[in-house]
Symmetry: C2
Subunit: 302 residues, 2 copies
């Protein structure tokens, strides 16, 4: 195994290089001091939203918009909204009652930095703001309300939140199967990936057929991303050949290498990436960044 790319920060000289500054700028402008919002809340929301990250979900939104022939600028509100939902979910997942994490990417988690009550409330406020951004900043009411419906479904009880409930339950019960693991990831990671892409398509006034292709790409890429994340955790962040039980395994969490073995998981990731490449191919040259991203995901374990 060659060196895996570091988990933190975007890859250098990538197909995302021209999108990432747009995203960072939009995120920075999305939360500012305002009348009625306590300073500590603004600070906690910014701390969570502007934390270092790959910005994968907002990038997916812009990439999908481009692939469907839209103007990338039109997809920026949706890009901000999906990152807000992602940031809120991390803040709540890290809480003592959930994963009880004190550090995320080397920084104190939101509740360590601002206290538990403020972290819960900052998460609530980010989730709420995501819908405010979609409803307030997308010019067309039809696209705005459709975007809200798509994001709310992906963030809701049958997707993001439901997946987290089952993920927590899986730590203590004994039903460990690939089907269950994929069901959790489809909801916890895949649904927001799919919504990120679909919102980009909606911003581009995509056809139903284009939206369906985006959902297929998302289903493959989302699971591949999770398999690769599990592998990197299992093998160690540096991509060391020496196998060791990572943090997830210590907790008794369901993981792909735990269920399929390292080679089985690697093979599953390759199959999923091939399927994602096939979907991306349907957009022809406009889908080049979708292809690049699938390559990027698999290269992390090559």
């Amino acid at each position: 195994m060659s060196d895996a790319l570091p988990e933190q920060g975007p890859p250098p000289a990538s197909a995302l290089d021209d999108f990432l500054p747009l995203i960072e700028q939009a995120l920075d402008r999305a939360i500012v001091a305002e009348a009625g919002c306590p300073g500590v809340l603004t600070e906690a929301m910014r701390y969570a939203l502007l934390a270092p990250g790959k910005r994968l979900r907002p990038a997916l939104t812009l990439i999908a918009c481009e692939a469907c022939g839209g103007a990338v600028r039109d997809a920026l509100p949706a890009a901000v909204a999906v990152e807000m939902v992602h940031a809120y979910s991390l803040v709540h997942d890290d809480l003592p009652a959930m994963d009880d994490d004190a550090l995320r990417r080397g920084r104190p988690t939101c509740h360590i930095r601002f206290g538990e009550a403020n972290a819960i409330l900052a998460g609530d406020a980010l989730l709420t703001r995501a819908f405010a951004v979609l409803a307030g900043e997308i010019g067309s009411p039809a696209r705005a309300s459709r975007s809200v419906a798509v994001l709310a479904a992906a963030a809701g009880s049958a997707a993001l939140v439901g997946g987290q409930v089952d993920d927590l339950a899986a730590e203590t019960d004994r039903e460990h199967s690939v089907a269950r693991l994929e069901s959790i990831h489809r909801r916890k990671t895949g649904a927001l990936f799919a919504a990120s892409l679909e919102l980009g398509g909606i911003a581009a006034a995509a056809t139903e057929s284009q939206l369906e292709t985006l959902r297929q790409y998302a289903a493959s890429l989302g699971l591949a991303f999770q398999v690769v994340d599990d592998l990197l955790d299992y093998l160690g962040d540096a991509g060391s050949l020496q196998k060791h039980a990572g943090k997830d395994a210590e907790r008794g969490k369901l993981t792909y290498p735990g269920l399929l073995g390292v080679e089985g998981a690697r093979s599953r990731a390759h199959d999923l990436i091939t399927a994602a490449q096939d979907s991306a191919g349907l957009f022809d040259t406009a889908g080049w960044r979708l292809k690049w991203l699938a390559d990027f995901v698999i290269q992390r374990i090559q």
Copy 2:
């Protein structure tokens, strides 16, 4: 002081009697078992949403729709959405990191019944579902996206969430003033009251002038409601003449009787109700339930 009406349950033979069954039925149908949603999450969401309550906010939505000449049925999705936001806010407010309440209206709070993680997630899911309902069940995209914008603003960092942050901070710091208390209540209670009314107006395709009148009514009624709640807490739920420090006072929370005295608070409530009656009067006979509701609020302390 005569007997105050009991806090729990709706008043008998009221102007709301024909609306309450509609609301209960809509709430009951709003959360059902669905693929991908763990059973415990459905159960926790229903436990929180269908808990006994006055249904004041959804009633305001239907009342406002009627006052603006709309069909009450068109306002039902918005009525459900505002009660979902209210229910989520109670679940999160009751958490150990916030008010740490084990009982609400005599029942175990959501985190006592389902565990803290599930309670946080059930709150998240209810908040998310509120926006799904608005975007998915309001036929007109223009009304749907406007409704999302109004509800997200009322539930967001400069209103509901910001008010809760300041309310928690007020327990430990020393800045106790009527201005601060009203600022907290305007955001914590008043904003969602106003949104509940405004969403009813939007469902009725109200004019901007009608919407403005609803907001004025809401500003008065919302504060009056809070003054009365503080008085009932201070005087004891049974409306006893014997003054005692209620639960809020024990916690060092800001309250109206604490700041203005009982007579000062009572007088403030009467002034606010008079203002609400004046606003309701602008709707002529169609606003009779708005007037009735203002009477009901003040009668609780008469």
